[in-house]
Symmetry: C2
Subunit: 307 residues, 2 copies
Amino acid sequence: MPSRLRIGRETFHYKWAKSHKPVLTIGDGDTVTFEINDVASWQLTEDSKSRDIDRLDASKLYPLAGPVFVEGARPGDALIVETVSVKTADFGWSAIMPGFGLLEEFKKPYLYKWRLKDKKFATFEKGIKIPIRPFCGVLGVAPPERGSFDVMPPGKHGGNLDIRHLTAGSRIKIPVWVDGALFSAGDVHAAMGDGEVCVCAIECAGEATLRFTLERNSSLRWPQYLTEGDAKPKRGYYVATGIAPDLMAATKESVRNMLDYLTKSYGLTREDAYVLCSVAADVRVHEVVDQPNWVVGTMISRDVFPE
Amino acid sequence: MPSRLRIGRETFHYKWAKSHKPVLTIGDGDTVTFEINDVASWQLTEDSKSRDIDRLDASKLYPLAGPVFVEGARPGDALIVETVSVKTADFGWSAIMPGFGLLEEFKKPYLYKWRLKDKKFATFEKGIKIPIRPFCGVLGVAPPERGSFDVMPPGKHGGNLDIRHLTAGSRIKIPVWVDGALFSAGDVHAAMGDGEVCVCAIECAGEATLRFTLERNSSLRWPQYLTEGDAKPKRGYYVATGIAPDLMAATKESVRNMLDYLTKSYGLTREDAYVLCSVAADVRVHEVVDQPNWVVGTMISRDVFPE
């Protein structure tokens, strides 16, 4: 019979490595609840200020819960991870971190703190309300190479995918690269937009309950997933385009145009507009074939704004 | 009182140019119905074959209905174009055109022909049904530069934006660059996915009714728009990721992985899978900040597949 198991928040690691000793062994079909520390390992609290961003100890970013050894998982299989539920702590934060994020013109650290006691909406500036849709930014397995690897870049092992659609009910398939898969989870996000443009979602601690099954001899090369998708907003989307011969340039231009719109229409500071895009606006590629210019759209649900 | 006007399908032009003589003069608030020829100017019909793609006369691509002179429109204003309705003809086509499209490995021309008599769904191979959501691929104004310009690349004048969200009820703001704006419309699409990856939507002739208003002294630099957004699919989305340090490479990888999935799971040929992605799958940027790897997802509604 499948077991329900738990990994406590005192158990975590900071790197991907196939040499990691598993903290739990499970079977095909088991469900595990992971207690997850926030991405900065509690270095940021309700008392923190923007200047504390510069003082973050980078070696304490991305504490991951795990690794879990899945009995029978072998290289060539796929691990299917169903997100059963994700709960958030009552405190969250979003930061602009110079040197990271999409837009290089943001050169000063900035910290925005969120109250997450209400589990449906997080209140932002100017009466803006962000719907809470929690998911794990990191869902991954050990890569096949020897050595230990930073959590930051996602890859064929999954990892720091930051896919906002991996909310409760979603199922992601990740290729298995080592015996037992060595799965870990981390980086709970209370809400995020496609793109995560300022480099942060609503970052928080939390708890994720995940169910694991195996697909034998999968030919999967990269993660694939199922998600229920977004509800249609009552008031539609506002969209700012960016058009350029380079997809990254078009993406930046599109986000900058959205920042222009948000600052002008809602009186947000440029920093707050950037954070709002990161937690609530979606970057979509409208066309990537009309040579030589590609069209990218940054879309925000108008339901987040006060009526 | 605002007028309701019409431009017949015998009136069209093939280039953007501020020297074009307008075919119609309208006022702020007027509504115009544009009869629109298909993007290949009737060179492809129900009798056409894949080999006819190579014989297309490129000088007859993108016939645009217009231009319309909007009285009072001046450089610095924005033209707001509301799509009131778009109707499709009963025949449509999608083509793979070597040298165009996202994926360079498609080296042979391929033509898929659609019946569009049913105005709700277009039937594809293997019982797949594509919901009809018509819009104009081209909505644009004359650019400020002297000379005449190809329709293909979109730009700050709008033009061949290929934004699938510009269906009935949407409103797009386009910067005005010349007196009277000189607006034209074209390229009716019965359905398209974000990305338009194979270079074609469901291409067809049709009729678009558009309403025009002016915003004075707008500081708009690029098109922005309002759209109602998609309904939530009943059976969710299937998503294939692509992960790479270059956004274009990640996009290509994501679409290739979706093609692997579609060919394997539904028995489609690779060509048909590519066409299906182009007309029904959306390219979204999941994260563009987890240095050095970006995650792109190609998402297809599972409602298109037979139950």
